[in-house]
Amino acid sequence: MRSLIRTPSGAPPALDPRLLRDVGLVCLAGGIVGSSFGAIAVAGGLPVWVPVVMSLIVYAGSAQFSAVGILLAGGGPFAAAATGLLLNTRTAAFGLAVADVIGRGRLARFVGAHLVTDETVAFALAQRDPTRRRAAFWISGLGLYASWNLCVLGGALAGGALGNTARYGLDAAFPAVLVALVLPALRENTDVRRAALAGAAVALALTPFVPVGVPVLPALTGLLALRRPA
């Protein structure tokens, strides 16, 4: 794992065109998923403001899908909120991991916290140095927030024009985004690789037996496979 030691803030981060292109692609894919979220919610009978407001203030794709799914299935608001919260517990661990990337200013902390998602954390941690890490977090964070919310609104207003997004293989694109972003860390550190593989095995083994979203947390037991640093 790369060192997370901060250097004194130096030159403004160069806008790496490759980073911009990669973030743009994830924004596009996220936007398509967002519009399908808006469309599904409205097609299921929820008023337009429900998916739109939920996206703005909850801003967590998997939790939003499961919460709306439960609301539409008649599972009740309590179950919807509880399931969503369970899914989002991981953001606490992510927030701790990228805290120094976000920055120290009051505004940065409060705005940055809301932008902590699987993708922004993966983009940030995939960068080589602290300056780039910070740039990657904020560029992907603001870009994804804008594209997700605009597309949820669009999808909610337009309805199910996109049809079934599984046809485009989008459900495989998101795990692949994470593969591409964590692979450098896995490649360079056998210790972290062992922990991650053990954790993934635990998560997969638990999936049939526990509620959706829960298996990811016990994956942290994979950290027991880390050796103490010499």
């Binding site: 794992m1 692609l25 929820l46 407001v53 203030i57 909850v58 967590a60 939790a63 919460a67 919807a80 909120a81 919260l85 989002n88 953001t91 606490a92 661990a93 992510f94 927030g95 701790l96 991991a97 990228v98 805290a99 976000i102 940065a108 409060f110 940055g112 916290a113 809301h114 902590v116 699987d118 993966a122 941690l125 599984a166 046809r167 293989g169 459900d171 495989a172 694109a173 795990p175 692949a176 593969v179 591409a180 972003l181 964590v182 692979l183 896995l186 972290v192 922990a195 991650a196 593989l197 954790g199 993934a200 997969l204 999936t207 959706v212 298996p215 990811v216 994956a219 950290l223 880390l226």
Partner: protein
């Protein structure tokens, strides 16, 4: 509808609270190098667990072969250091092609 509003608010407030823990603690609590290494490792472990469950499972069951094979194609491309765009589009295209060919 007010119960729905309450559910959305509870989910929003709770999620934001989770997210705020790290940024608020930062600079107030001095973390040792060991703990910081653990935290960044934990993020990688969680991301890998997410991608594994995302690749293989859907609603507590198996997602079908098309999706994990697409992710595998993306993984092979990433391993061969293909550009990010190629990895992501390759995974999606593989899964879409397998589905079009009738694989679940």
């Amino acid at each position: 509808m007010s119960a729905t509003v309450a559910a959305i608010l509870a989910l929003a407030v709770g999620t934001y609270a989770f997210r705020l823990v790290g940024p608020l603690l930062h600079g107030r609590v001095e973390l040792s190098a060991r703990v910081r290494h653990l935290l960044s490792s934990a993020a990688v472990v969680l991301l890998v667990a997410l991608l594994a469950t995302g690749a293989f499972t859907e609603a507590r069951g198996f997602a079908g072969w098309a999706r994990p094979l697409g992710v595998l194609a993306g993984g092979v491309l990433a391993w061969r250091r293909a550009p990010f765009v190629v990895v992501v589009l390759g995974a999606g295209a593989t899964t879409a092609a397998l589905r079009a060919a009738g694989l679940g």
